[in-house]
């Protein structure tokens, strides 16, 4: 095992997969220099032919990734900030997501889209969104949201090897967070949630960066004698419903925490699944904690006000169980 931060986990996963399969190549904005460090140094080993510095032209290069995937390659496309997905919505939602189905299953679409997401501190509304929930209602995509270095590396490797389009959302705030990562190769399968902490009184399902906040909250709740189980879905499509439902069968109370917006967000879908399929296990309605439906504001006190954090999580749980 070695300690590795989130960015290093991305870099290592990319290098390993590029080494393994000559069909893989990386294309995106600023990938030569590596805007956040995740792709730094890859040109040294793989050359400018496989590490392609794209123009600021999301529709152009995301669409080129789709075409390359249809022509037998395995592109990894970096969109930089998740909000920039709006500039290539057609290429992701109308093309990558649908062409396999529309062609009657003829085409594999082995393409990985990576983007950083989340509020990192006064980046304002166009550089702070999570965006993944919008993609959840587009059939044909898989979505992963890693919460730490171990999952980041294992999920990204699985995404690159998957023959379907996978969107990987990398929370910027996790960049320097470190975890122990095996030295030997490993994969984290897409579609399996992780129980990050076992507990018996309440299930907290938290997404991405919110996993760290939920774990902090669980510690503080423990001091009050509340035993919280923390579950990280890790992938939003497919959703590991089994893991949620078996936890709820034990705790009978659920809080779903997401940094994205409340309305039609990831937390809404998870809550609906539990309400549909786990109603008999519940002692109380499923509760959501997510950002209110305003764009992410710029000013620090405003931004802090809208984002869930450990204190808001523990306060909500106390209220639920109180």
């Amino acid at each position: 095992m070695s300690e590795m931060n989130f960015i290093q986990a991305i870099n290592t996963a990319l290098a390993e997969e590029l080494r393994l399969d000559p069909k893989t190549f990386l294309m995106g904005l600023d990938v030569w220099v590596g805007a956040f460090g995740a792709t730094s140094g890859l040109t040294d080993e793989f050359g400018a032919e496989r590490i392609l510095n794209a123009p600021i032209s999301e529709a152009g290069y995301a669409g080129a990734g789709v075409g390359a995937a249809m022509a037998g390659m395995r592109p990894i496309v970096e969109i930089e900030f998740a909000s920039f997905f709006y500039c290539c919505w057609d290429q992701v939602c109308n093309q990558a997501a649908k062409l396999r189905y529309m062609s009657g299953g003829q085409a594999d679409m082995p393409i990985t889209f990576r983007a950083v997401c989340g509020a990192v501190g006064s980046a304002a509304a166009q550089h702070s969104e999570t965006v993944y929930s919008q993609f959840m209602s587009v059939p044909g995509l898989k979505i992963v949201v890693p919460s730490g270095a171990y999952d980041m590396k294992g999920l990204l490797k699985s995404a690159i090897r998957d023959n379907n389009p996978v969107l990987v959302f990398e929370h910027l705030k996790l960049g320097r967070s470190k975890e122990e990562v095996p030295d030997d190769e490993y994969l984290v399968p897409i579609g399996q949630a992780a129980v990050k902490r076992a507990g018996s009184d309440v299930t907290i399902i938290a997404i991405g960066y919110m996993v760290s906040q939920a774990l902090k909250a669980a510690k503080s709740l423990e001091e009050d004698g509340i035993s919280a189980e923390v579950i990280d879905p890790r992938s939003l499509i497919p959703l590991d419903e089994e893991t949620f439902l078996s936890s709820v069968a034990k705790t009978h109370n659920v809080l779903v925490v997401d940094e994205g917006h409340l309305r039609c967000g990831a937390a809404a879908e998870i809550s609906a699944v539990i309400a549909d399929k786990g109603f008999d296990s519940l002692d109380a309605p499923v509760k959501r904690l997510a950002a209110p439906d305003v764009p992410v504001p710029f000013s620090p006190p405003l931004e802090k006000f809208i984002l869930p954090n450990d204190k808001k999580i523990s306060a909500t749980v106390r209220e639920m169980l109180g």
């Binding site: 032919e49 290069y61 990734g65 995937a69 249809m70 022509a71 062609s103 085409a107 044909g140 023959n163």
Partner: protein
């Protein structure tokens, strides 16, 4: 004239392809109006030469992307009329098992990366197919069919910029039929010749008579050669015209409102790609009887395709849930 370089076999193949497109499209129009085909269809009668001339300059391994008006491109690239017709009918024996329909036929074995219902969407996809060929050094080229309308989309400019910057083996084929849906290109487009837009992306821009299959073939051949040599993309503008409406049965939306002068339609019909071919090659290269025999063969093939589509079963309703994800 450089058309001496074309063998009579090749010329006859091109004629047969154009006949196939003409008769396929005419039949689709007719049976759509009879209610045999669900949804809506866009036919390319009058535009047979651009599809045929471009595809004739490609190999089977090369790629194409197509548009909502794509039947002709697919036929020219080797698509068979039976599974195409069956797809239009929504039948299980269609190329896409009834999941795509008229606007979305694809066949990856033939390098047909799909017709596409989104105007301009094929441009980055073709660019990516060219990129794939370049990254792996496998030598294919990608030909991208699109219309004058698509040249006003951002994806047109983004794709040409990328392909030119990276010297990708892509041939951008603009079939300028003068109208985007029900709007004249001249009212909404900054240039008279779409080919002029190539200059902004530092690539050759060529205007050809899109109704002359030989001229299209030769221009494409030069672009393919340039692409295979690693010299980058070319934009070819084929001046052409669609005889039918944007969509078959558009009178139902438009009523008596018209957007094209009828004398314009008649003038373009005189420049028919098939007549253009016949005038040039009959009787010196082909006899009238020889071409009439081709027409009869094609008619039989189209009859068979319609029969095949009519006789084919629909997919089982539950098949709506299949083909979502690859298992691996």
């Amino acid at each position: 004239m450089a058309d001496t370089s074309l063998s009579t076999d090749k010329l006859l193949d091109m004629y047969r392809t154009m006949q196939t497109i003409r008769q396929f499209e005419s039949r689709v129009r007719d049976i759509f109006q009879e209610g045999q085909i669900p949804g809506f269809v866009h036919v390319s009668i009058g535009e047979e030469a651009s599809a045929t001339g471009v595809a004739a300059a490609l190999t089977e391994q090369d790629y194409i992307t197509s548009t909502h008006r794509g039947h002709g491109h697919l036929i020219a690239k080797g698509g068979e009329v039976k599974p195409m017709m069956a797809e239009l009918f929504g039948k299980k024996t269609g190329y896409c098992k009834g999941k795509g329909g008229s606007m979305h036929i694809a066949n990856f074995e033939l390098g047909i990366l799909g017709a596409n219902g989104i105007v301009g969407a094929g441009l980055p996809i073709a660019t990516g197919a060219g990129l794939a060929a370049k990254v792996r050094g496998s030598g294919e080229v990608a030909a991208c069919f699109f219309g004058d309308g698509a040249s006003n989309e951002g994806t047109f400019h983004e794709s040409l910029n990328i392909a030119s910057s990276w010297k990708l083996p892509v041939i951008y084929v603009c079939e300028n039929n003068l109208y985007g849906e029900f709007t004249a290109g001249k009212d909404v487009t900054s240039v008279k010749d779409i080919a002029d837009r190539a200059r902004g992306h530092d690539m050759p821009g060529v205007v050809v008579n899109g109704n002359d299959v030989v001229e299209v073939y030769e221009a494409t051949g030069q672009a393919v050669e340039r692409a295979r040599k690693g010299e980058g993309p070319t934009l070819i503008e084929c001046k052409t015209y669609r005889w039918e409406g944007h969509v078959v049965g558009e009178e139902a939306f438009l009523g008596k409102r018209s957007y094209r002068p009828s004398d314009e339609i008649e003038a373009w019909k005189k420049r028919c790609p098939l007549i253009t071919f016949e005038q040039r090659f009959v009787p010196d290269t082909f006899s009238e009887e020889g071409l009439t025999a081709v027409q009869a063969e094609v008619k039989q093939a189209i009859d068979d395709a319609v029969q095949f589509a009519q006789d084919s079963p629909y997919p089982a309703p539950e098949e709506a849930l299949d083909d979502m994800f690859s298992a691996t």
